[in-house]
């Protein structure tokens, strides 16, 4: 006979189980239908995160596609102090590899934080060395660092980008919208140990920055920097600037300033070293401005080469001011007025032309206005309108006083004479390209205006050749090429008067005379003990012209075998 089940106990257990069942069913319904979105969101936050994808900053190249500025991967070292087991070992190893101070590292590692920086932006070799040690609690974050392989070549021109890869000066800043690119983002899935899984979709890909191809030639820049170093040190100058320009296209082949800086350590240099003096500094040009007066005289037809000017034997009164020449001259031919740089002769020429003509030609040569080169901090210089000229201005402006110019303006002006009379807009950027090398934007040479006739330009070339061959620029004579130019020795203004101890020594010219290719401007600020442009600046012009022309000839001459054969045939 089977034992009798008591109905009450059975009912209680049954109710209990049914109750539990309904409880769990209710929880299920709650999670599935009422709290599902909250829980999904919580899970998503635990397992996924949005990651910003940093774009690569574009590079900067010279005209031969040699890199001037590129991004290099660097690794910043951080520590998680709670995970560190052997502090002494870490202190010892980091001190040996990175040269970190023992007390600095100890102080950092003893802090009660989860994240401590130890060293920023280390190169890949140091990173691998530290990683190879296998020390607990040390990790790396990869960052990008803007690096300049040529360190101090064309420093002020290129400028620099800061820690966060934003351009802060020079071309890096002016063309930052092209170089910067735009960030993208992605959703990253990670596991319970917070390791990333490669199961993500890039929701918005990053757009890498475009690269720039400059008109600068690295070799020409180096030649220029080599010479500017020599004159800057030899003459204990306060500053110096050299500009090399292609006369036919207006492309800037080199631009150097002193003092200068190493772009890889820009923060260590004073602000003064970062200034692009070729465009930010203006000065009274002195005698080199006579090329404007002479060009105006010939172009208007009021003077010819055959005309003679009496130079008053070195002393000439204009209104209440007495003008002097360095050497007393009597009757000088028009060419010799410029070749010997006679202030009196030039003033007399200007007086015959009239202030309006001198002003108009000065304007046409680009003075008193920005060259629109796009370089940071460019100034327009000073060229007073005729209405503001005093009675003595006619004896000052034509010889380069009461007027202020920049080195770049001078380079463009002398190029006018070299290329047959056309003012070309100075160019510094040739192209904007993408990472595949395809051209996004191209900057073509631009003719701004016709300044003087070809015949005038030809005559001026002859005159400037005479300056070098028989005039004040004899130290610019070359054995290899015929060079042409004009010297300038301008007194600087000090306390409202012209100083007798501070000068700007300058030389502007072009080469070779027969088929001008390059224009070179050399400006030295306060050279000592010598201060004449013909002594200080002319030799630098010669050395740069010779080496640059040789370099360009080698580059353009692809068939070296034939050249060798020609040499032997002779």
């Amino acid at each position: 006979m089977q034992p009798k089940i008591k109905p009450l106990r059975f009912t209680v257990v049954l109710v209990l189980f049914i109750g539990l069942l309904f409880f769990f069913l209710g929880k299920l319904v709650l999670f599935q239908f009422f709290r599902s979105s909250f829980l999904l969101d919580l899970a998503a936050r635990q397992h996924t995160y949005y990651l910003e994808l940093e774009p690569k900053r574009g590079s900067i190249f010279d005209r031969q596609m040699r890199p001037l500025a590129i991004n290099v991967p660097t690794f910043s070292l951080y520590a998680v102090p709670p995970q560190i087991k052997n502090i002494d070992l870490i202190v010892e190893k980091l001190g040996a590899i990175l040269g970190l101070n023992r007390s600095f590292v100890l102080d950092r590692l003893n802090r009660k934080k989860q994240f401590i920086w130890l060293a920023r932006k280390l190169d890949i070799n140091k990173m691998e060395e530290i990683k190879g040690l296998g020390l607990d609690g040390l990790y790396f974050i990869k960052e990008s660092k803007r690096s300049y392989p040529n360190s101090r070549l064309a420093s002020q021109l290129i400028g620099f980008a800061g820690l966060d890869n934003i351009g802060l000066d020079g071309i890096e800043m002016n063309y930052d919208p092209y170089l910067r690119g735009s960030a993208g983002w992605t959703l990253v899935l990670r596991d319970a140990k917070r390791r990333d899984l490669a199961l993500t979709d890039i929701l918005q890909p990053p757009v890498d920055g475009y690269s720039l191809v400059l008109t600068i030639d690295q070799v020409v820049q180096y030649i220029t920097e080599r010479e500017i170093d020599k004159i800057f040190q030899k003459y204990n100058a306060k500053g110096a600037t050299i500009v090399v320009m292609d006369v036919k296209t207006g492309e800037i082949l080199a631009l150097a300033n002193r003092p200068t800086l190493d772009l890889n350590e820009f923060s260590k240099y004073p602000v003064d070293a970062r200034r692009n003096r070729a465009v930010t500094d203006f000065f009274e040009p002195g005698s080199i401005f006579k090329i404007v007066t002479a060009s105006a005289a010939l172009d208007t037809g009021k003077f010819t080469l055959k005309d003679k000017v009496f130079c008053e034997n070195g002393e000439y009164r204009v209104a209440n001011h007495t003008l002097h020449d360095v050497h007393p001259y009597g009757l000088l031919a028009f060419q010799d007025v410029i070749a010997q740089s006679s202030n009196i002769g030039t003033t007399k020429i200007a007086q015959k032309l009239g202030p309006a003509v001198v002003y108009d030609y000065a304007k046409a040569f680009g003075f008193g206005a920005s060259t629109s080169s796009g370089l940071t901090g460019e100034v327009a210089g000073i060229l007073k309108p005729v209405s503001r000229w005093s009675k003595t201005s006619i004896s000052a402006v034509p010889i380069g006083q009461e007027v202020c110019v920049t080195a770049l303006q001078l380079a463009s002006a002398i190029s006018v004479i070299a290329n047959g009379g056309v003012y070309m807009k100075p160019l510094i950027v040739r192209q904007v390209i993408d990472k595949k090398g395809e051209v996004i934007k191209s900057f073509e040479p631009e003719i701004v205006r016709k300044v003087i006739s070809e015949e005038t330009a030809r005559t001026m070339r002859d005159i400037l050749t005479a300056v070098v061959e028989v005039g004040t620029g004899k130290l610019a004579q070359s054995k290899f090429y015929r060079l042409a130019g004009k010297t300038g020795t301008a007194q600087k203004v000090e306390n409202g008067t012209y100083s007798h101890s501070k000068f700007m020594a300058s030389f502007i010219g072009f080469a070779p005379v027969d088929d001008p290719q390059i224009a070179i401007v050399v400006i030295v600020d306060e050279p000592r003990p010598y201060y004449y442009g013909g002594v200080v600046s002319a030799p630098a012009f010669k050395f740069i012209a010779e080496d640059v022309l040789k370099y360009r000839q080698i580059r353009s001459n692809g068939d070296g075998g034939q050249v060798l054969a020609k040499v032997y045939e002779r």
């Binding site: 890199p67 070799n125 040529n150 070549l153 070799v219 080599r226 040789k550 070296g560």
Partner: protein, 126 residues
């Protein structure tokens, strides 16, 4: 019959579920391997960029100048110069190379592998 069918369906369902779980874990494992490979690739690319920077830096005339003059030696530009070309003019390939390139690639490979001519041996001059 009903019981055995129920058991069969349950077993089938369980196997399918297990297969699905297996697939998901394999995908995650693949994700780890891909991630590890990506890290290796990234490290190689970083190393390549660092080397390119080092090369550019070494080729820079500023650094060449510094290394040449480090001993205080003085170099002068030649007063006169000649262009000397050791090979054929630029733009024209060496004749042997031009001839080699005219043959189909498989023939060239066969010639290299089985029919390559004896190479000259350098011998010490006594």
């Amino acid at each position: 019959m009903r019981t055995s069918r129920c058991i069969l369906y349950t077993a089938l369902g369980t196997v399918l579920c297990l297969l699905y779980v297996f697939q998901q874990t394999e995908i995650v494992k693949l994700g780890y391997r891909i991630k590890a490979t990506e890290k290796v690739l990234e490290a190689c690319l970083d190393r390549k960029t660092a080397l390119q920077y080092t090369l550019s830096s070494l080729e820079s005339p500023v650094n060449i100048d510094r290394s040449l003059f480090i001993n205080g030696d003085d170099f002068e530009m030649a007063k006169d110069y000649k262009l000397v070309r050791l090979g054929p003019p630029a733009g024209k390939e060496r004749p042997m190379l031009a001839k080699a390139k005219s043959k189909p690639i498989f023939k060239r490979l066969a010639m290299l592998s089985w029919f390559s001519a004896r190479t000259a041996q350098a011998q010490t001059v006594k």
